[in-house]
């Protein structure tokens, strides 16, 4: 009897130890899985194979000090700002100054890489147009147009005109490079 009781207790202890070990292994494996999931989505919101342009826009607006209030550009006004057919882009975010500075954010996902090059050329053209518009209006704004941040990576093209080119470059590189 005593031996049977001892065996039962022994067996129970073995089961308890096994369950505790199993739980510990599950928790360790689970924590590694969580860590890997966190790392895969870190680095500026760049998921595998895609760029979160909306997040990039938000980060630029939050981390760069724009002088003027920035407003999303209505689609009806797009052709006043950019000379290309908006259908070249499958996704776009354009945020502009309320009119008195050259500050601007323009982010596009083109349909393909050739169209991305077209969009990039249109951005360069936009910069030149703004230089002409502001050289007699507010010449001080021309400093922001000297080296605007324009980044193209695959089908993604982004431009940020601001007074903080280095910060803009840093943020754009996090997402697009």
């Amino acid at each position: 009897m005593k031996q049977t009781t001892y065996n039962r207790h022994h067996r129970a202890r073995q089961v308890a130890r096994f369950l505790a070990l199993l739980m510990a292994v599950i928790m360790v494996l689970g924590s590694f899985a969580l860590l890997l999931a966190g790392c895969s989505t870190a680095g500026g919101g760049k998921k595998a194979g895609s760029v979160d342009l909306a997040k990039l826009r938000d980060d630029l607006l939050a981390d760069i000090s724009f002088e003027s209030e920035m407003t999303p550009l209505d689609d009806s006004l797009f052709d006043r700002y950019y000379s290309f057919d908006p259908s070249l882009a499958v996704e776009k975010y354009v945020v502009v100054s309320n009119g008195w500075t050259v500050e601007e954010i323009a982010l596009f996902q083109a349909a393909d890489e050739d169209k991305a090059k077209t969009i990039e050329a249109a951005m360069q053209e936009r910069v030149e147009d703004q230089k002409k518009a502001f050289e007699d209006y507010v010449p001080a704004e021309l400093t922001k147009l000297q080296s605007p941040v324009i980044v193209r990576s695959g089908v993604y093209v982004g431009m940020c005109i601001s007074g903080d080119d280095s910060k803009a470059q840093e943020i754009m590189d996090q997402y697009l490079k």
Binding site: R17, A20, L21, M23, A24, M27, V28, G30, S31, F32, A33, L34, L35, A37, G38, C39, T41, A42, G44, G45, K55, L61, A62, S65, F66, E67, S68, E69, M70, T71, L73, D74, S76, L77, D79, R80, S83, V95, V96, N98, G99, W100, T101, D129, A133, F134, D136, Y137, V138, P139, A140, E141
Partner: protein, 337 residues
């Protein structure tokens, strides 16, 4: 049975069986292992929570798209009752003239963007002089009316300078046609081309030939306030009105009063608000002489002193989205039947 005897513990001489000691050690190891697993889970959870994919509360000002410096400057302005910028103030809205003036000796300065005492109509200290404004004659005034629908502006043209560009960008009158550009003034109306979209460029004068409008809103003056000869401004404005009346005979023409600037901007451009008020008086005479209507937008957006409230503009001249909304509301509620 061998026992480990705690010979030093005279208060508890009870021997500890060696088997129990091994069990205790095993339990200690298991506990330690579990504790380590818990710590790893906590670290992983913290890493995941700090991942950018999860919603985060952003630090800093949350007013959508408003430059953070403006809020920082307001705190600075609160400590600087004179309302004038100081050399160590953080960058806020750069002070930019509406039109580059080659004879001006003003340099770019940093300025606070909110009134020193804060608030929508807070009084700066000491109180500034009230801007003298002429009353609007009844025959040209537009009385308040029921709010017009967006479609009311479908055949309307808004003509003007960068302030009108701001109105265009706000998107609140999306059905209207905007013939405006930064730096536009009454003398460039006939000569300087503007981008009309789709690669088309034209002067405003030529653009008015392309389609009929039933309402035309004019807004000039901020780029001309420092012209040495004020009558030249009125002469050019009259020329524009007469041109439009010839080109668009069925259109109702509204001349909008020139919006004032903020008190802070005025400190760097002495007398500008009174000058703008004086030009508005001349515009009222123009309306009387040409049978056009005078829309007193300036009065509707001004504070009690006849100036643009500090929170209405980040540079002292151009309106924030909130005040562009007020401007739009005024236009919608002051229409001629």
């Amino acid at each position: 049975m061998k026992c480990d005897i705690d010979v030093d513990n005279s208060t508890n001489p009870t021997p500890v069986p060696k088997k129990n000691s091994r069990r205790a050690k095993r339990r200690k190891h298991q506990f330690g292992f579990l504790l380590l697993a818990l710590i790893l889970v906590a670290v992983a959870a913290a890493a995941l929570l700090s991942s950018p994919d999860l919603p985060q509360v952003l630090a800093g000002p949350q007013q959508a798209y408003y430059p953070p410096e403006a809020l920082a400057a307001s705190e600075h302005a609160s400590a600087n009752p004179s309302g004038q910028s100081s050399g160590d103030s953080k960058a806020t809205a750069s002070l930019n003239t509406a039109e580059a003036d080659a004879t001006s000796d003003q340099a770019e300065t940093q300025e606070s963007v909110l009134t020193p005492a804060g608030g929508a109509t807070a009084t700066p200290s000491p109180p500034p002089a009230v801007i003298t404004q002429a009353p609007v004659p009844d025959e040209i005034a537009v009385a308040a009316s029921a709010e017009a629908e967006d479609s009311y502006f479908a055949q309307s043209a808004f003509i003007g300078d960068s302030r009108t560009v701001g109105l265009m960008i706000s998107g609140r009158l999306s059905q209207a046609t905007f013939l405006a550009s930064v730096g536009m003034n009454v003398s460039k109306f006939f000569t300087e081309t503007i981008d009309l979209g789709s690669g088309t460029e034209s002067t405003i004068a030529d653009a008015l030939k392309t389609q009929p409008y039933d309402k035309i809103y004019l807004a000039f003056g901020i780029n001309e306030y420092d012209w040495p000869n004020k009558s030249e401004f009125i002469r050019e404005y009259l020329r524009i009105v007469q041109y439009i009346q010839g080109m668009q005979p069925d259109a109702v023409i509204y001349i909008q009063s020139i919006l004032p600037v903020t008190y802070t901007y005025e400190q760097e451009h002495s007398g500008i608000n009174q000058t703008l008020a004086d030009l508005n008086a001349l515009l009222m005479q123009l309306c009387q002489n040409t049978s056009t209507y005078y829309l007193d937008v300036a009065q509707s957006l001004s504070d009690d002193y006849g100036r643009l409230p500090a929170e209405a503009s980040s540079d002292g001249v151009h309106l924030t989205s909130a005040y562009l909304a007020k401007w739009t509301d005024y236009l919608k509620t002051h229409t001629v039947p």
